[in-house]
C-alpha cells in the first residue's frame, strides 16, 4: 500500500524552495540579525567581524543615514544629530519620556495634536520610528549581502512588556524599512526558544531579561517543543542605560558638575560611567578620570556601585514576584533561571536574582545573542522551511486592555497574561434618539483610573443606524493577534450594519503618515509601485495555488465531491493562466473566485484536522 502523504492545513511550503528568513533583535543599545545557515542558527557579522550593531544613527545634511559604529563616533562631537536609544521613544509621547526620568540629549519638537515626538536633525525632523527603520535597513542589507539573496521575511523581537503602541511603532518601522514581518516575537520567548532547543529543556523556566532600556521577566512551560508563556511582567523603561545614568549622576555629584551640563558632557559622562560599570564586572575598584573641559579624578568601588544600583535591581524583583503570582507558582517550581541581556553580566544582578529565586541563575549562554538566535529559529519555521517542525510558541498579552467608562474608570476587557490570539466582544447602546456616532477610548494597564493607564487609541464609531435611544445594539469586538497587536471592529446587531471605525492612535502613526514617509524615503521613491503590486498579487496567487494543490493531494479524495473537484480544478487552471499575465485586477478576481468556491472545503479541512487533534488520532493510525 502506498503511503499517504499527510498534510495538515496550513502546511504547504514547497519543500524544494528555501526561503531566506532572518531574526532581528532591535535593541536599545545594540541590534543583531541572525539566520539559519547550514542548519545552524547564528548571528551575522558585518565585514569587520562585528556581530553587534550599535543602535545609533547619525544624520547629516543631504547624506544617507549612518548607522552603528560609524555613527557612534559622532556621539560626542555632534550629539544633536546622533540618535541613540530610539527604542525608548517608540510608541511614547514626550510627556511619557519626561516622566520616566529619561534625559535624552536631543532637540525635541513639540507639535500640537501629534503624540509621537519628533527630533530635529540636520537631515530633517525624524521620528523614533524612522530612526529604527534606518537601523533595520542596515541589518537588512547586512543579511542580504551575507545570505546572498532577498529576505522573504523576518521575525523582529520586542520586549514582552511592550504595550500595543510600542509594538505598532516597531511594526511601522519594519514597514518603512521594506521588511516583511512574519511575526513580532517577545524577547524572553525568543531566548527560551534558543535556550530550550539547545539544551533539550523540559519543565518550567524563568527568563530574566535586562537589556539596555527594558526589563522583562517571563515564566514559561517547555513541553515537547511547545513554549507556553504562563505569565510575563516587566518595565519597558528600565535597563542598563539607567544603571549608567545612576553612576553618571553619582560622578556629577562627586565632581560638582551642575545638573544642566551640556549635551556632549552628559554623553561623555555616560561613557565614563559605562566603562566603570564594565570594569567592576571583573575588578573591585574602577578608576575614574574625567578629561577635557571638566577635570576630575576618583574611583568607584564595588560596594559603592552596589549601593547605587540596588534600588534599580529591586525594581526588577517586583515584576518577578508579580509574574510568579500570576503564573500561580512559587519559586520551588522553577527549574532554571535563564539570564538574557547585557546588563545581566553584572555580578550584583545575578546575586540578587539568585536570592529571589533561591538558586543561581544560568549564565553559560551569550546574553547578547540569544534573542536574535531564537528569532532566527522561529523565522525559519514561519517562512516554511521546516514544515514538519513541532515547535509552537504560545504567548500572552502583557498588560490588560480596558475601555474608559463613566467617571474616568477603566473597565478591563482582556486581562493581562491572557494567551493570544484572543478576542472579546462587548455590547454598547445609544443613549440619544437617532444617535449615529459614538466614541470609545481604549487604554492599556492595570490601574483603575484611565488617567493612570496608557491611552492607546480613541475609536470613533460612525454610521450607526438611526434608532430610538437604547434600542441599538452595537457589538464591538476587540481582537489581539499573535503579534500582540489590537484591532477593533463593530457591528450593529439588530440591523447587521457594520459601523465605520476611525482610529486615532494616541502615540502612533496613522496609515497615511506611513504612506507619506514611504514616499518621502528616497529608496522607495525609485521603486515602481505598479510592479510591486503585480508581484504581490502573483505571490498571493502562487500561495493560493500551492495551498490548494497540497490540500487536494492530502485529502481531496475523501473531502471533495466529484462535481466540486471539477469546479475547483477549472478555477485553479484559470488562475494559473491569468497569473502569468500582467492584469492585476484579473488576477485578484481569479483569486477571489477560487477563494469563494473553496471556502466550504477549507472549513471542512480545518474541522477534520481539529477533530483528529482532539481525538488524539492521526491519519496514519486509522
Amino acid at each position: 500500500m502506498a503511503l499517504l502523504q499527510i498534510s495538515e492545513p496550513g502546511q504547504y511550503a514547497d519543500p524544494h524552495q528555501h526561503r531566506i528568513a532572518a531574526g532581528i533583535d532591535l535593541g536599545t543599545t545594540n541590534s543583531l540579525v541572525a539566520s539559519i545557515r547550514s542548519g545552524l542558527a547564528e548571528t551575522l557579522p558585518d565585514i569587520e567581524g562585528h556581530h553587534l550593531l550599535p543602535s545609533i544613527v547619525h544624520y547629516a545634511k543631504e547624506e544617507p543615514a549612518i548607522v552603528g559604529n560609524a555613527a557612534k563616533q559622532f556621539a560626542n562631537t555632534d550629539p544633536l544629530n546622533t540618535i541613540a536609544s530610539a527604542k525608548r521613544l517608540m510608541g511614547r509621547g514626550l510627556k511619557d519620556i519626561k516622566t520616566t526620568g529619561t534625559r535624552l540629549p536631543y532637540d525635541f519638537i513639540e507639535k500640537e495634536g501629534q503624540g509621537m515626538p519628533m527630533i530635529r536633525t540636520a537631515a530633517g525632523d525624524k521620528s523614533p520610528v524612522q530612526v529604527s527603520a534606518d537601523i533595520l535597513n542596515a541589518l537588512k542589507k547586512r543579511a542580504e549581502e551575507t545570505l546572498d539573496g532577498e529576505l522573504s521575511g523576518v521575525v523582529i523581537t520586542v520586549p514582552a512588556y511592550f504595550d500595543d503602541a510600542q509594538r505598532q511603532a516597531t511594526k511601522d518601522a519594519a514597514t518603512l524599512a521594506g521588511l516583511n514581518v512574519l511575526r513580532l516575537l517577545n524577547e524572553p520567548t525568543a531566548a527560551a526558544v534558543a535556550y530550550g532547543l539547545d539544551k533539550g529543556a523540559e519543565g518550567i523556566y524563568a527568563i530574566y531579561d535586562l537589556g539596555g532600556g527594558t526589563f522583562d521577566i517571563s515564566i514559561l512551560r517547555l513541553h515537547h517543543g511547545v513554549f507556553e508563556v504562563m505569565a510575563t511582567a516587566g518595565n519597558s523603561a528600565l535597563g542598563g542605560d539607567d544603571i549608567d545614568r545612576t553612576i553618571a549622576q553619582w560622578i556629577m555629584q562627586e565632581a560638582n558638575i551642575a545638573d544642566d551640563a551640556e549635551h556632549h558632557h552628559i554623553r561623555q559622562l555616560l561613557d565614563v560611567a559605562r566603562t566603570a560599570k564594565e570594569t567592576l564586572t571583573t575588578q573591585d575598584i574602577a578608576p575614574i578620570q574625567l578629561e577635557g573641559h571638566i577635570k576630575w579624578q576618583g574611583e568607584l568601588t564595588h560596594a559603592q556601585l552596589n549601593q547605587l544600583i540596588d534600588p534599580l535591581i529591586h525594581k526588577t524583583i517586583i515584576p518577578c514576584r508579580r509574574a510568579m503570582r500570576d503564573a500561580g507558582l512559587t519559586v520551588e517550581h522553577i527549574k532554571e533561571i535563564v539570564m538574557v541581556g547585557g546588563a545581566t553580566r553584572m555580578p550584583r544582578v545575578r546575586e540578587k536574582v539568585g536570592d529571589f529565586f533561591k538558586r543561581s541563575p544560568h549564565t553559560d549562554i551569550d546574553p547578547d545573542k540569544v534573542v536574535a538566535i531564537g528569532a532566527a529559529i522561529q523565522a525559519d519555521i514561519l517562512a516554511g522551511n521546516k514544515p514538519d517542525d513541532e515547535m509552537l510558541l504560545l504567548d500572552v498579552i502583557p498588560l490588560s486592555l480596558g475601555l474608559e467608562t463613566m467617571g474616568g474608570l477603566s473597565e478591563k476587557i482582556i486581562p493581562r497574561n491572557t494567551t493570544i490570539p484572543v478576542a472579546k466582544a462587548q455590547e454598547f447602546t445609544t443613549f440619544k434618539d437617532g444617535q449615529t456616532a459614538m466614541l470609545l477610548h481604549i487604554v492599556q494597564g492595570e490601574r483603575e483610573l484611565v488617567l493612570d493607564c496608557r491611552s492607546l487609541a480613541r475609536f470613533e464609531l460612525r454610521r450607526i443606524p438611526k434608532m430610538v435611544a437604547g434600542s441599538a445594539r452595537i457589538r464591538v469586538t476587540f481582537q489581539v493577534d499573535a503579534d500582540g497587536l489590537l484591532s477593533v471592529s463593530a457591528t450593529e446587531e439588530t440591523t447587521g450594519v457594520h459601523s465605520e471605525i476611525i482610529v486615532k492612535p494616541s502615540y502612533g502613526l496613522q496609515d497615511n503618515d506611513i504612506e507619506r514617509m514611504l514616499k518621502d524615503s528616497l529608496e522607495h521613491a525609485k521603486y515602481d509601485i505598479a510592479a510591486r503590486t503585480l508581484r504581490e498579487q502573483q505571490v498571493e496567487a502562487d500561495s493560493v495555488i500551492n495551498a490548494l494543490r497540497a490540500a487536494i493531494k492530502a485529502d481531496g479524495h475523501h473531502l471533495l465531491k466529484h462535481q466540486e473537484f471539477l469546479k475547483i480544478n477549472a478555477a485553479l487552471n484559470d488562475l494559473l493562466k491569468i497569473k502569468e499575465g500582467t492584469d492585476v485586477k484579473a488576477i485578484k478576481k481569479a483569486i477571489e473566485h477560487l477563494d469563494n468556491i473553496t471556502q466550504s472545503y477549507a472549513e471542512r479541512r480545518m474541522d477534520s484536522a481539529i477533530h483528529r487533534a482532539v481525538k488524539g488520532q492521526h491519519v496514519d493510525e486509522l
Partner: protein
C-alpha cells in the same frame, strides 16, 4: 460548540487539568496562526477564529470559578444576578476587609499580610471542594451561591496581592 465540546470532553466540574492542557496543546498545533503564516488570507482568518475559540475555552475551563460559572450558564442559570447574600457571609467579608484595611496602616505588614493571603487561599481551596460536591449532586442553586462567595474571596485576594506589591 460549547467550551467542553471544543476539547471533546463531557460537561463536568471535575476536570483532569493535565489532560485538558494536553488536548489544548494538540489543538494549538492545528489552529495556531504561526501554522498559517504563508496561507491564503481567508484560511488565515479561519485559523485565527479557531485559535481564539480554543484559547477562550481553555482559559475558562482551566479556572475553577470560570468553569463553575460556565456550567451554570449552560444550565440556563443567570449568573449575573445581584440578589442578596446571607448576612452571616457578608459580616465575615466585612471583617476580613477591615482586617486588610488595618494591615494597610501597619509599617511592617509583610508577615501579617502573608498570613492573611494564605488564609484567603485556603478559603478558596475549600470553596472549590464544596463546588465539586454541589456540581456532582447537581445542586445548581447552591453552586451558584458558592460561586458568588468565590467571587468575593477572589476580589479580596486581588486587593491583598496588590497591597503586598505596594509594600514589597
Amino acid at each position: 460548540m460549547n467550551h467542553f465540546e471544543v476539547f471533546n470532553l463531557p460537561v463536568s466540574f471535575e476536570i483532569d487539568t493535565d489532560n485538558l492542557a494536553q488536548r489544548y496543546r494538540d489543538l494549538q498545533h492545528v489552529v495556531h496562526p504561526d501554522k498559517y503564516v504563508n496561507a491564503p488570507d481567508r484560511e488565515r482568518r479561519l485559523a485565527m477564529q479557531k485559535a481564539v475559540q480554543v484559547n477562550e475555552a481553555f482559559q475558562i475551563l482551566k479556572n475553577p470559578l470560570d468553569r463553575g460559572l460556565y456550567i451554570l450558564q449552560l444550565q440556563g442559570i443567570e449568573t449575573n444576578d445581584n440578589s442578596a447574600m446571607d448576612s452571616e457571609f457578608l459580616t465575615e467579608q466585612m471583617d476580613l476587609r477591615e482586617e486588610l484595611a488595618d494591615l494597610r496602616e501597619k509599617t511592617q505588614p509583610f508577615n501579617a499580610l502573608s498570613n492573611f493571603i494564605n488564609r484567603l487561599e485556603k478559603n478558596k481551596t475549600f470553596l472549590i471542594d464544596i463546588l465539586s460536591q454541589q456540581f456532582a449532586q447537581k445542586e445548581y442553586q447552591l453552586a451558584l451561591e458558592s460561586t458568588k462567595k468565590f467571587q468575593f474571596f477572589k476580589r479580596l485576594h486581588e486587593e491583598a496581592l496588590s497591597l503586598e506589591e505596594d509594600f514589597f
